[in-house]
Symmetry: C2
Subunit: 418 residues, 2 copies
């Protein structure tokens, strides 16, 4: 029986092969760095259900999204879907209890997200994402704080300003550009959305095609390219850049109006993190979405908001390519050798005492030859072996220094440094 | 918009109310203890997809289970289900790559599991479970090792032998009892399964009803109760108890043949953890299932196996009732006061430097009155406040000792103890 296509098994290291699955240890390493960075910035962790009412996602993204969802009708006749993103859940949770929390709310989550997409080879249908959001602060100081967190998260993996850059843009600036230039005011919101989609795909679309589509809305590709080339920061972007520069993070960010973020719901500054060599898809992306909480709460709660998402898959590829993933080994602190079955009971007591003081301990569950036991201790990269000798004495061997000491069994846990 | 009934939102502390949701911090506290105990015992963590082919679960549990599942047909016409338990996924994963791992395999996982059950008030449709399993070891020394992990996991929360007990039983013993006494050999496996179900429900069923059902299979309630009352350990159980006693864990376990574990797939020793006062449902349960890997792998791989599962919900109730849940607070190491906007840039640099050395730091994103800032520092239970004074000096105040020191900004991160 096989797992579903596009889903991952996470094996303990050593992972048999890349086909076999992914490394649980690498996943945990990444989660640890994500949590640690968020913690230093004073963000608090939350989570919601992986299964939500379908309406939560269509309210935000329109009915089109259903084609990309794992959605179904449950046994209670509810239309439900596996979450394709975390933001609607966050908006729902905050709206339900916004009075209970001081503003600004700084929260993060590490959800697993699901999208059903027509199968492409190697394309995943689930991934994990680091989501960090700030709610209840209009000032772009919040945008700077959030981008600083994004930068420091990537730096905590050993990535530098030579490895990645945050491309900073402004949905506002593009909106003004659109409103200044649109030929026909009747195009309205729908026209703006079409326009954003064209800009979003500009770098991946033949110029003639973009030109044609822009012309239909009353724009010229030349004007668009001119605006992008100018790179003049808006007052908001200038303020964000100055804030980041004061922190010593100026090298990690640049204005780049190619970035617009396709989704309809962004309202202010937007940004994406890219590897400088341009080998990978975006590492992370986000921006302001000041209207979403109001939309999800049916107008009951109005809270400005901004956030970013960083997936585990591109990040893993990048860290792997830059040699920044550590070696993950199964290791133990102490391997207890039981060469004489007569002392198994005393050995079990020793194992218990060592574990009770926090040591990671393994041992042969059943009788095994001494050389086989020692080989196993080496495979597990044990720091020490311990062997009960006589009624209440233990011989401890430091496998690095080869130093051997005999001591009372009761002293062994204290002797072995954590 | 509301979350689905039976699903939980996990909020950062302080959680607005129990109705609002559950505590993410309490969940993380429990996950941390689970991981730490497993680690000390040399168990390695794995995970699989929350969505699996439906067949994986029906192969193990029969078609009846479908009524309790979140199952559906995906857009690729595959019959799929949200996992109701982890063991089939584990068996699938191990069977696929068993040669890559040394035996015994000691693995654990903390999956979220899903069951659709007709709504009862307050009844959850998802929970998290600590699953620990040992594969590839026939000897009951593995059963003892696993039960020791279960005991030490519960002890790590502060629970003692006065709080809980492991009721140890034997599917083998019941199987022999059944085979000795069954009137009609034709009853076979189906009869045995019916018999196990009767025993499983014995404590919750009126005696006349059990008597009647047992009689249909050729048994008397008296004989059954006599066997249970005898409590004579089988050789296997005696060996497990001796092993645990050698570790000093004898007080945590007793033979109790009431326990049989309803599921059809158990093959050897079985056990459940209960609170001594009998206020809660089982805290954990498990046992041997030596045939499952063979079944799931279609006969390709044959590996003995045993494991237990411990859910987060009963555990949380028990810890809460015994006063063993710590207070979870939003706390920061340092709150940086910015009372003069002219020094905001230097303050941002200080914040960056403090965070870079691992400190948890918060500060006012926008101009705020000094007393409001200080109040926020107190709410966040800050250990220190720091305030830039002049070009490159910082005043640091220890909020516990009220000691104030002025120093060069560059020295501040080193001064503040982690």
């Amino acid at each position: 029986m096989e797992r579903l296509p596009g889903f991952r098994d996470f094996y303990p290291e050593p992972v048999p092969s890349r086909d076999a699955g992914w490394s649980f240890d690498a996943r945990q390493f990444i989660f640890g760095k994500w949590r640690e960075a968020a913690r230093r910035y004073g963000f608090r962790e939350y989570d919601g259900p992986p299964l939500e009412p379908l309406e939560l996602f269509t309210t935000k993204s329109g009915a089109e999204i259903v084609g990309q969802l794992y959605n179904f009708v449950d046994k209670g006749e509810r239309a439900v879907a596996l979450r394709p993103e975390m933001t609607p859940t966050l908006a729902r949770m905050v709206a339900a209890h916004e009075r209970a929390y001081k503003k600004p709310i700084k929260w993060f989550a590490l959800p697993q997200l699901f999208r059903y997409e027509r199968q492409q080879k190697g394309r995943l249908r689930e991934h994990f994402q680091f989501n960090a959001d700030i709610l209840g602060e209009n000032d772009v100081a919040a945008d700077a704080e959030l981008i600083a967190l994004l930068i420091d998260t990537l730096r905590s993996f050993g990535l530098t300003a030579e490895d990645f850059v945050i491309r900073l843009s402004s949905r506002n600036a593009w909106q003004e550009f659109y409103e200044r230039g649109v030929r026909n005011a009747e195009c309205g919101a729908e026209g703006a959305y079409q326009f954003y989609q064209i800009i979003d795909k500009l770098e991946r679309t033949p110029p003639e095609e973009s030109q044609k589509k822009l012309a239909a809305l009353g724009f010229s590709l030349e004007d668009v390219n001119g605006f992008i080339a100018s790179g003049t920061p808006t007052a908001e972007l200038a303020s964000i850049i100055a804030n980041l520069a004061a922190r010593g993070l100026g090298d990690f960010v640049k204005v780049d109006y190619h970035v617009i973020r396709g989704l309809a719901y962004y309202t202010g500054p937007v940004f994406e993190a890219f590897d400088r060599k341009g080998e990978f898809r975006a590492i992370a992306g986000g921006g302001r979405y000041d209207n979403l909480v109001k939309l999800i709460s049916g107008g009951k709660v109005n809270l400005s908001a901004l956030g970013f998402g960083m997936g585990d898959v591109v990040l893993l590829e990048l860290l792997s390519a830059r040699g920044l993933l550590p070696q993950f080994d199964a290791t133990v602190d102490v391997f207890v050798l039981i060469e004489d079955e007569a002392v198994r009971p005393q050995s079990l007591k020793l194992i218990q005492d060592l574990r009770a003081t926090g040591h990671v301990v393994d041992y042969p569950l059943t009788p095994a030859k001494p050389d086989k036991q020692f080989k196993r201790a080496q495979e597990l990269k044990a720091g020490f072996t311990a062997r009960v000798e006589g009624a209440a004495t233990v011989k401890i061997r430091n496998l690095k220094t080869r130093e051997e000491v005999v001591m009372a069994a009761a002293d062994a846990p204290g002797h072995i440094a954590r």
